[in-house]
């Protein structure tokens, strides 16, 4: 279970606090699936990082009683490390035998010789494949995903979906996405983030309607009267 209570985050902007969200409350049970939607810069990635423990919230708490992945799509590996270094690091942290572990990741990431190159020379797609492969090699109860599925080609997207939503259909996840179709297909609840607020919607269809209206009004302020 993930229990989020009164979560809030702000950062200073021109000497004033700019709130990304305030008073966010929700629970995520095992197997629950929450999508995060919002315009660019509204705080989706920040919320994912806070839930993953990468960032501290300004106030409030996120308490986990199930294991959760690091945020997929978050480029957390030091750039001078090679892909294989990252695999060894994760294997040690999670006490996995390196032999089969590295093979499983390489099989998914399909990096070939690039696995022995520094990560700073990887393309965004290669980083995503490595990061996704590392996450899938550990049996987490919940996966935090930050748009990683949108990175890379169609084959990679399909493979991610098979791995995450096929083989791990019983796992929980929280995913930040711009894809309303993805949200409709894979999520059972949604959080919309906009203009300093984050709201949980029990009905994904309502969340999609609300987000669509936000998007239309942002791009065409007169849309409110259409």
């Amino acid at each position: 279970m993930l229990v989020v209570r009164d979560l809030a985050h702000c950062y200073p902007l021109n000497g004033h606090p700019r709130w990304l969200f305030r008073d966010l409350n929700f629970d995520l049970p095992p197997g629950g699936r929450i999508g995060l939607i919002g315009r660019n810069g509204q705080g989706k990635s920040t919320l994912i990082k806070i839930l993953g423990g990468v960032l501290a919230p300004t106030r409030g708490s996120a308490r986990w009683s199930m294991s959760c992945s690091w945020p997929l799509g978050f480029g957390g590996c030091q750039g001078s490390m090679t892909g294989m270094d990252a695999i060894r690091l994760i294997a040690r942290l999670y006490q996995k035998p390196i032999k089969g572990f590295a093979e499983r990741i390489d099989d998914f990431a399909d990096l070939g010789e690039a696995l022995y190159m520094p990560i700073k020379h990887y393309s965004s797609g290669m980083r995503a494949r490595l990061g996704f492969g590392l996450s899938l090699a550990i049996d987490f109860d919940c996966y935090l995903i930050d748009e990683v599925i949108a990175v890379g080609d169609a084959a990679f997207t399909q493979r991610c979906e098979e791995e995450l939503f096929g083989r791990r259909a019983h796992k929980a996840f929280i995913v930040a996405t711009h894809s309303l179709e993805f949200l409709r297909t894979h999520c059972d609840r949604a959080i919309v983030i906009d203009n300093g607020q984050a709201k949980l919607f029990e009905d994904v269809g309502v969340a999609i309607d609300v987000y669509t209206a936000i998007w239309e009004e942002h791009h065409n302020p007169d849309a409110i009267w259409i």
Binding site: N195, K199, I224
Partner: protein, 154 residues
């Protein structure tokens, strides 16, 4: 469940419809509850308050109300109307104006009309609160042929 009750009154009569006798969209779905005094506009385009489907004495009526619109709700397309199908008097709240809005709407009702007042948000809304205590009704004109209500008019 709709409240059906007669409000047969003589000309010049006053009625107060408090917010509790109205329905809200979500309550209509679940079938119970009352319209709160502070309504959260978050959700789909819908009626935030509607009802109470009551008969008024035939004639012309004026509905007066005050809405307290929050700064976030002021960014939404809000409207109120008053009448009975298919004839409603409509008022669109001005965009971007938060605070108190005093609104008056008039309409003419026949003997079989079930009067409604409706507050609605025209597009899906991410946020916004609207304070709504109720609607005051005044009969401003009654048809001369009106049989002055068989019940002796309240």
């Amino acid at each position: 469940m709709f409240a059906l009750a007669n409000e047969r009154l003589r000309a010049g009569a006053h009625i107060w419809w408090p917010h509790e006798i109205f329905l809200s969209h979500n309550q209509a779905v679940t079938g119970h509850g009352v319209c709160p005094a502070v309504i959260d506009a978050t959700g789909r385009a819908r009626h935030l308050a509607f009802g109470p489907f009551r008969q008024l004495a035939p004639g012309r009526w004026r509905a007066s109300l005050v809405l307290r619109v929050s700064a976030t709700a002021a960014r939404r397309a809000l409207a109120v109307d008053f009448g009975a199908p298919p004839h409603f008097a409509l008022y669109n709240l001005p965009h971007g104006v938060a605070g108190l809005h005093t609104i008056e709407l008039e309409n003419t009702f026949g003997p079989d009309d079930l009067a409604q007042f409706r507050l609605w948000v025209k597009r899906p809304a991410f946020d916004g609160e609207i304070g709504f205590l109720g609607v005051a009704l005044n009969q401003i004109d009654a048809p001369s042929s009106d049989p002055a209500s068989p019940e002796g008019l309240m």
